[in-house]
């Protein structure tokens, strides 16, 4: 599974520019599905036929957070805006990868005091990307205004723990791919690799309308509580199993989804955690509110340093998520 995760996380596809990741995911699943559709917003929806007339939809978003080039000065320095939740603090000392070129991020300041002050009150007005261009013209050839970029950060294998950019939510994509490959579904099984989650759950809100599933589950990362002086009001630990989400700040999981996943995990001896996330949300919030309402929930993977260039997960959590979702897909029982 690590190889797949590496391939997916190292592909560059910020929100609204998901072409490459969609092609790679499609190559992975195409021999294991009964049909597919790429909808008008770019969501990839694949399906496997089951034996019942109910539909299960699993969703993982394939976009990652990024930046947008909006201005280039006469010396060739590029100004950027964030696409999704990129903190300027995570850009300082980092590299940004545009389609044709990589750049480093610098901070404005005439004196040491200026730099200190700007660092303290950092925002996108105070930083710039330097691609080593001599002037505006040279920079604009490589990074035309309106170009999208992502963090440039490698994949590191630390054994059980792995680190990369874009673990959010390529880990969900990897879990969904492996579930599609392995599952022999009882209910009709739809997998959606959705677009533009990071800017506002755009893709998922139309996927659910299109498919109209009986149950929908978002597979996404969540945050963590197991680092020095980490949050005490919630419990999310790496390696303790996938998290069955009960609540976050965007949705409350349908009780039936929570109970079904928990019962399955118990009966199959799959480790799991119960998740209450103080701040954050997933595509489930959009899925739940679609059309006349859809029974929805989220299965999440604890992930340290979310939205930084170096997101860490435990690969056992991903493996166990696949086991749990495969069990759900194969259970010879009506969904609700």
């Amino acid at each position: 599974m690590k190889e797949l995760i590496k391939k997916l996380t190292q592909t560059n596809a910020p929100s609204g520019r998901e072409l490459k990741i969609r092609e790679i995911i499609f190559e992975e699943v195409k021999d294991f599905i009964d049909g597919y559709e790429v909808d008008r917003l770019g969501n990839l929806i694949v399906w496997k036929k089951g034996k019942s007339n109910q539909k299960l939809l699993l969703d993982a978003h394939m976009d990652e957070i990024g930046v947008l080039a909006t201005f280039i000065d006469e010396k060739g320095f590029i100004r950027i805006e964030s696409i999704g939740g990129v903190s300027p603090y995570n850009l300082i000392g980092s590299r940004v990868l545009f389609q044709n070129v990589e750049g480093v991020v610098g901070i404005e300041g005439e004196t040491a005091e200026d730099v200190q002050k700007n660092t303290k009150e950092l925002n996108f007005d105070k930083i710039f990307v330097d691609i080593g261009a001599k002037n505006q013209e040279e920079a604009e050839k490589l990074v035309p205004l309106g170009s999208f970029g992502v963090y440039s950060a490698s994949f590191t294998d630390l054994g059980k723990r792995i680190v990369s950019k874009a673990m959010d939510d390529r880990i969900g994509c990897a879990i969904l791919i492996d579930t599609i490959k392995r599952a022999n579904p009882y209910n009709d099984f739809y997998g959606a690799f959705s677009v533009q989650e990071e800017v506002g759950l755009v893709g998922a809100s139309v996927v659910a309308f299109n498919i109209n599933p009986d149950v929908a589950i978002a597979v996404d990362v969540t945050t963590w509580s197991d680092t020095p002086k980490g949050p005490k009001r919630m419990s999310l630990e790496l390696g303790k199993g996938p998290c069955i989400k009960i609540k976050d700040s965007a949705s409350i999981s349908d009780r039936r989804v929570v109970e079904r996943l928990r019962d399955l995990a118990e009966s199959q001896n799959i480790p799991y955690q119960l998740e209450i996330l103080l701040r954050g949300g997933t595509d489930a919030a959009a899925l739940q509110k679609t059309a006349a309402g859809i029974v929805s929930g989220t299965l999440s993977i604890p992930c340290r340093y979310v939205h930084s260039p170096h997101e860490m997960i435990d690969v056992d959590d991903a493996e166990n998520a696949v086991r749990l979702l495969q069990a759900l897909a194969e259970e010879p029982k009506a969904l609700i």
Binding site: D39, E81, I83, G146, V202, V206
Partner: protein, 343 residues
């Protein structure tokens, strides 16, 4: 002909939810020049013209403007107001307004500087801003206005060379562009729906409903957007600048603009040497987010006329920008949207 009706359009009162006057005006101007026209339940005006291709393209400009609503009539005949849409109270003191269907004149009042004690630096709040309609008694006021009446700025539009000023340029500028596009007999590639939408300023309320009814293959929102070319802003952080052509948005709040539509407009601008600019800020949203997430998804784009001081009693735009916006949209409407994704 272009900007035939811009001046008249900005002088009409159409605060969100009360767009009737704007709608009736537009209806009258376009009725003989479209293949069909209808008004929906939320008050959106939808007109269409056939194109070479039966696929549907929806153009959308919102008719509503920011303003106020009378929320109470005080004992002394002054009117309490609530803002309709985003308005900075510092921009409205001492301005003339028109109230309700009878367009009763009034002035937005606040205590004179002589009576302020070190409060000059505190922005006034809507708690203590009142409208004065020239009466001293509640009963006299009640004969003229009612709770729930709309309040619109009473600004006359002026044109000075290439510069036009007026209230409600956001988004009568867009409405005017759509009317001009209907007026000019363009060889439309797609069957084109011209939507004049309602209640955008209160949260994109009208456009989604219109999109659901039309179910277009793509949509382009025609807006009037913030400029930010004030001297205190560094060039890099100006959202747009006047005189540099239409602003094409790559992304905004809640939605990354559809890639093929973005390049459709950009390429048409380049090929036809039409001055354009890429919008430098992504804050703020438009009807595009609402339309994009309608039904099973409708790819959307945004093109805007840059404008200074929007959401205030007086905004300014450059008529050359208006012309270039019109030209760019008119040229693009004759061309197919190519599906060549790059990234």
């Amino acid at each position: 002909m272009n900007n035939l009706y811009l001046k008249e359009l900005t002088e009409l009162n159409g605060v969100s939810g009360y767009e009737r006057r704007v709608r009736e005006f537009i209806k009258e101007k376009i009725k003989d020049r479209v293949s069909g026209m209808e008004e929906d339940i939320l008050g959106n005006l939808i007109a269409w013209k056939e194109g070479k291709n039966s696929k549907k393209l929806m153009l959308c400009a919102h008719m509503d403007e920011v303003g106020f609503m009378v929320s109470n009539i005080e004992e002394d005949g002054k009117l309490s107001i609530i803002p309709i849409g985003g308005i900075d109270p510092r921009t409205i003191i001492g301005k003339k307004v028109l109230i309700g269907e009878k367009e009763i004149p009034g002035v937005i009042g606040y205590k004179a500087i002589h009576l302020q004690r070190g409060e000059e630096l505190t922005p006034p709040s809507f708690e203590n801003i009142k409208i004065d309609i020239g009466v001293n008694k509640k009963t006299d006021a009640e004969n003229k206005v009612k709770i729930g009446d709309f309040v619109a700025f009473a600004t006359k539009s002026t044109v000075n060379g290439d510069w036009a000023s007026g209230k409600a340029l956001d988004d009568r500028g867009g409405c005017s562009i759509l009317i001009d596009l209907i007026e000019d007999n363009i060889g439309l590639f797609y069957t084109t729906y011209f939507v004049f939408s309602t209640q955008e300023e209160l949260g994109l309320r009208g456009a989604g409903v219109a999109a659901e009814k039309i179910s277009p293959d793509f949509a382009v929102v025609v807006e009037t957007t913030t400029s930010g070319d004030n001297p205190e802003f560094p060039e890099a952080r100006r959202s747009t600048e006047l005189g540099r052509g239409p602003a094409i948005s790559p992304a905004h709040s809640g939605y990354v603009i559809d890639e093929k539509l973005f390049y459709w407009m950009l390429d048409n601008a380049k090929e036809n040497n039409i001055l354009y600019q890429i919008k430098r800020r992504t804050v703020g949203g438009t009807d595009a987010r609402r339309i994009a997430t309608t039904l099973a998804g409708i790819p959307s784009a945004v093109i805007s006329i840059p404008s200074r001081y929007i959401h205030s009693p007086m905004s300014v735009l450059n008529l050359k920008d208006y012309e270039n916006t019109l030209r760019l949209i008119a040229t693009s409407l004759t061309k197919e949207v190519k599906d060549e994704r790059t990234y």
